[in-house]
């Protein structure tokens, strides 16, 4: 954890690798015939509703929030698996939100995704060598079979599977959960991505091996070439491994900043509540959980004003009418630490 400060300051100098600006993704709700004849306005599930953040090379950013808050839709939109309703995603300065055909394919190669469940994400009939070779064949990487083999071996050892020859001819069922997740990581590394997105990469793994996979992701971005975006609901993991944390609630980022700032000095009442309920390892350090009642509202029916106000312990009258934007209070040391709350 010590080198974090240096990584961050070095990264500040260069332009962000990915700039997400005001990104929105709405899913239309199917109307019945009556409603469409009467030309009632279409309703939408606002899964992502105006999200702005940047990812810097050499940094790991954690996107945290409860299920249904739009974490996964955000990254699927960045990866162009889903089309954005509004806003833009720029990768190395180029707006990729509306690219099509050949031109997006070049960018697809540079953004890779690691899925939650390595028991499902690997084809059980493929040997490890084919799992890792397939993305190269699709993206025309590697000049010959022997070149691809070298790259496969390299990726395997980079993912911590050594000696790589031992794993080449295995089937996924012969590997443990942690090893499978490393194979999935190796399969994305062969394409030399600049952005690696990991969706809950360790939640299906055993406690004893989680740290290893997370440290691998940590090492991968430390060489400076790659940005890592990790989706997680586990704030302890985010606090431990990420440089930055963005907290999402109902399609919006409600707070973002350096991990230490967000964890030690939270600004938004939602972040404060989330942090208070995270169990600590030390029984003496358990904080009094500030439990929010009720459940996350339906994103098809977002409350007016601040979307958190119905569950907020410190809401006042204005909160139900004014929708706060992300802003940094003058008191915080880092200008990048901001929260969307009228009290900030």
């Amino acid at each position: 954890m010590i080198p974090r400060a240096t990584v961050v300051s070095a990264a500040h100098d260069c332009r962000p690798l990915v700039e997400v600006e005001n990104l929105s993704t709405y899913y239309p709700i199917r109307q019945n015939l009556g409603a469409s004849i009467l030309r009632k306005p279409r309703r939408f599930v606002k899964a992502v509703d105006g999200v702005t953040f940047a990812l810097v090379r050499g940094e790991m950013t954690a996107l945290v929030g409860e299920s249904g808050c739009g974490k996964t839709t955000t990254v699927q939109t960045i990866l162009r698996m889903i089309d954005a309703t509004a806003g833009s995603v720029r990768l190395e300065g180029e707006d990729i939100t509306r690219l099509t055909g050949r031109r997006i394919r070049a960018y697809r190669r540079r953004m890779q995704m690691i899925y939650q469940d390595p028991y499902e994400s690997l084809d059980p009939r493929f040997r490890v060598r084919s799992i890792i070779e397939e993305p190269m064949l699709i993206h025309h990487v590697g000049t010959s079979r022997s070149d691809r083999r070298t790259r496969t071996l390299e990726a395997l050892s980079q993912a911590g599977l050594t000696p790589p020859e031992f794993y080449m001819d295995r089937y996924p069922h012969e590997l443990s959960g942690g090893q499978r997740q490393r194979v999935a990581i190796a399969a994305s590394l062969v394409l030399d991505p600049v952005l690696l997105i990991a969706d809950e990469p360790v939640s299906m793994l055993d406690v004893s091996v989680r740290a290893g996979v997370l440290s691998l992701l940590d090492d991968l971005r430390r060489d400076g070439a790659m940005a890592v975006l990790m989706i997680t609901h586990d704030l302890s993991t985010a606090a431990h491994f990420a440089d930055r944390i963005a907290v999402m609630y109902l399609g919006r980022i409600v707070e973002q900043g350096l991990a230490d700032d967000v964890v030690c000095d939270p600004l938004h009442p939602y972040t404060k509540a989330l942090l208070s309920v995270v169990p600590k390892r030390d029984p003496r350090r358990q904080t009094k959980p500030q439990i929010l009642r009720g459940e996350t509202p339906n994103p098809a029916n977002v409350p007016c004003g601040c979307r958190f106000h119905p569950r907020c312990p410190v809401a006042f009258a204005e909160c139900s009418t004014v929708d706060p934007a992300l802003r940094s209070p003058s008191s915080v040391s880092d200008a990048h630490h901001s929260a969307a709350c009228l009290l900030v």
């Binding site: 406690v207 302890s236 169990p279 600590k280 390892r281």
Partner: protein, 345 residues
Amino acid sequence: MSPHNASPSECPATTVPACLAEGEAPLVSVDGLHVWFALPSGRELHAVQGVSFDLERGVRLGLVGESGCGKTTTILSMMGLLPPSASVAGAVSPRARNILARGEQSVRSHRWTDIAMVFQGAMNSLNPVKTVGSQVVEAMEYHNVAHGEAARTRAGELFEMLGISAQSGARFPHEFSGGMRQRAAIAMALSCSPDVLLADEPTTALDVMVQAQIGELLVGLTRELGMAMVLVTHDLPLVAQLCERVAVMYAGKIVESGPMDAVFHRPRHPYTRMLFAATPDLYDKERVVSIPGAPPQLDRRIDGCAFAPRCDSASDRCRVQHPRLLDIGPQHKAACHAKDPGACT
């Protein structure tokens, strides 16, 4: 289930229940529990290898360990719910009567009424075509706890106690959120007023905030009803938050047990220490390190300490001799040679 002859060397030293000193009999005591599964290959998998613990009134015990360490098998055998391929030895004694003695016959009258369980993923196992309320009523009628209107009233009371309105009993599972379904599953387990509640990963598939709600609820229930609880989980911080006692299992054995505070601040077994070191904490910036290797296969003989191949401080003795579970502090036990200088068998 048929009793199985345990080889004497495998059996743990007889344990003196800590509660006896305080003069209160345990609600349930588990003594020298062994479980074997017959594998299709003809081998036997020794899943639980001599587990003993006592549960006094209001005690919350966390049973932690990696997957496959025998946590769930232990509590399933307390319910007498193991598959026919399993054989069991040892004793599970609610009210000082061993319910494993005569198999299903002796278990049936205690299951749910003395010991009840919330299964892993219980919230997804509700019957989708019946209302939630009727499923709780059905459980009560089957066990002759209450019938008809009385059962419906009691189901309503249970729902209220668990933070669901009594009217929502008339709704179907799909109309409930995950947190509410989990509450309904807990209501069903509590419908026969058990002394002991066994909860298998009760918060795993839930969101952080709902996890906290369910955790708070379980702690409240043990306080109000004086019920004992066993929380089976792989999440050490969750145990630290909800339980005052913890038992760490490895390869079918309890390797360390004691008050949560003592086990966290003075872990005496390397596995406990490494398990804590593999768990990230919100405020603790220490490097998290995974435990190398994998747990041993339990279908073959293990010589010496089962953890020795992964241990960072194993000696030659660890590879040949089983460590015994010894008292090392007030109610604190550990099975490690490093802490057991004079042991000889």
